[in-house]
Amino acid sequence: MEAYLLNLVILISIYSILGVTLNFIMGYAGIYSLAHAVFFGVGAYAGTFMAMHVNASIFVTLPVAMAAGAILSLILALPALRVRGEYFVAASLGLQVLAVTIFSEWKSVTGGIGGLIGIPPLDVAGFEVFKPSQFIFVTVGALIIILFIINRLVHSSFGRSLRAIRDSESAAAAFGKNVPLIKTISVVISSALTAVAGVLYASYLSFINVESFKLDTSVLIMAMVIIGGTGTQAGPIVGAALLLLLPSLISYLDFLPQTEIGSIQQIIYGLGMALLMIYRPGGIVGRKKQSETGKE
């Protein structure tokens, strides 16, 4: 039971990193990306490659993974952020599809469809972290650091620029904001931090394959952000916890036919999301209703 809980918390914190980094561009800059799992994957593969062939120290794996995520995101951001929002969604979807093909085919780096096994544990300053009871400190610690960084950014002039762009791109530009550049920087920061989750995930499981980095994952991360509360600090974490706990909670309900548990889960997910968006569009943590706000 303890191992089970540790495992859940570790996964929740990794997915929270994914949610928090997606929320940074989605909730504050209004950039909707369906390629978040790509940067998760790039971080995982780049970190693993370094760990297996060069050095397993996080002082090597993390910077390389972050740089890989940042550079790849530039390739997406530079052309796609010059145009309006919808096009970015389409371009990110294209990147997601393309990336899955590359992840499945580039055997020397990604291990192809079969993936990579025997990924070395995290090496934190010479100390090998592989026990879940230790690993949990690394993932929760990483989540806290990333939350801190994003919190600082959101409350800086940069964060205000992002929100201004989200609310009115033309007015933001009319007040001196270089909109494409600011959007690009936000995507690069988000992608670099997302890659951290990839490194942690790969060394925690010691096995990765393309299945973890497909469109389903991108959609799941987006669902976590929306359900938890887009543009809120705690929202993505609440969303990640809820969506990862839900399957376990459902499987505890004895009266459900165990053979149909998969489809029942999907029904509960779908229904829950639809109802939530109708009655609480701001998400669980988000503002309740428009009419109840703005009073002092």
């Binding site: 205000r160 929100r163 201004a164 609310d167 009319a174 600011i182 703005g294």
Partner: protein
């Protein structure tokens, strides 16, 4: 209003033979005019005359088909909106385009921040920024509402916030697109007072306005546009007393 001095002021912006067509329609047709320092130039003319389009061409929101614009003596023909703002040319929008989800205070604060990369400010920079925001909040009468989200303000307050965003900056030229439309008499008295005060302090204004009382009350110079053409550009009295222009303005055209 000392209209006779209007021709002697330094020219801040020089607009020459500017054209813009949308499909077959000439929205701005061979317009040439000067915007002079320290005065209020009012653009008048019926709907669809090309007034807002002219603003969009100046700030680079739209690109000109031909013609040239100089700002402080330098050509700004390929300028982008954010560069225009950084060069000291700011505009408001007819539909306001406030940063609706942000607080009143943050709307103003972000309007004076034009850094693209995350930066750390020194304490004195932060204080200077704070002072500008407070100045604009007080001038616009929004100090007590500074924590409220822009979208929760009343109509007149939203219009004043749109002005406050401009007021907080160091811009030399303000392009105001119908800033007083829909204001009640009290509010627009207050608006005129703000505008006069700011011009006295050295700001140059070009304003689009329909209400003739306001036009007469504030203009140092009037430019009359119709169907993209600049029909007159001169002292308020001479433009407003021209029977032909009056006929166009009041829709008595045959």
């Amino acid at each position: 209003m000392v209209a006779s001095t209007a021709d002697t002021q330094e020219v801040l912006m020089e607009i020459r033979n500017v054209d813009k067509a949308f499909g077959g329609v000439k929205a701005v047709d061979d317009v040439s005019m000067d915007l002079r320092a320290g005065i209020i130039t009012t653009l008048v003319g019926p709907n669809g005359a090309g007034k807002t389009t002219l603003f969009n061409l100046i700030t680079g929101e739209l690109s000109k088909d031909s013609g040239s614009i100089k700002w402080l003596g330098n050509p700004i023909n390929k300028i982008k909106p954010y560069q225009a703002a950084r060069a000291g040319i700011l505009r408001t929008f007819q539909d306001l385009r406030l940063f609706n989800e942000m607080s009143v205070e943050d709307n103003i604060l972000t309007s004076i921040e034009d850094n693209s990369v995350p930066v750390l400010l020194t304490k004195s920079q932060r204080t200077a920024r704070r002072e500008k925001v407070d100045y604009a909040l007080n001038r616009a009468g929004l100090f007590t509402k500074r924590k409220i989200r822009a979208k929760d303000l009343a109509y007149a307050e939203r219009k004043f916030l749109s002005m406050a965003r401009v007021m907080a900056t160091d811009a030399r030229l303000w392009l105001l697109d119908e800033p007083a439309s829909g204001l009640d008499p009290n509010s627009y008295e207050k608006f005129l007072e703000i505008l006069r005060e700011e011009v006295k302090q050295g700001v140059t204004v070009c304003i689009i306005e329909h209400n003739l009382d306001i036009v007469i009350g504030i203009s140092d110079r009037i430019a009359f546009l119709d169907r993209g053409k600049l029909l007159a550009d001169g002292e308020p009295q001479s433009v407003l007393n021209d029977p032909e222009l009056r006929a166009i303005y009041f829709g008595e055209r045959t």
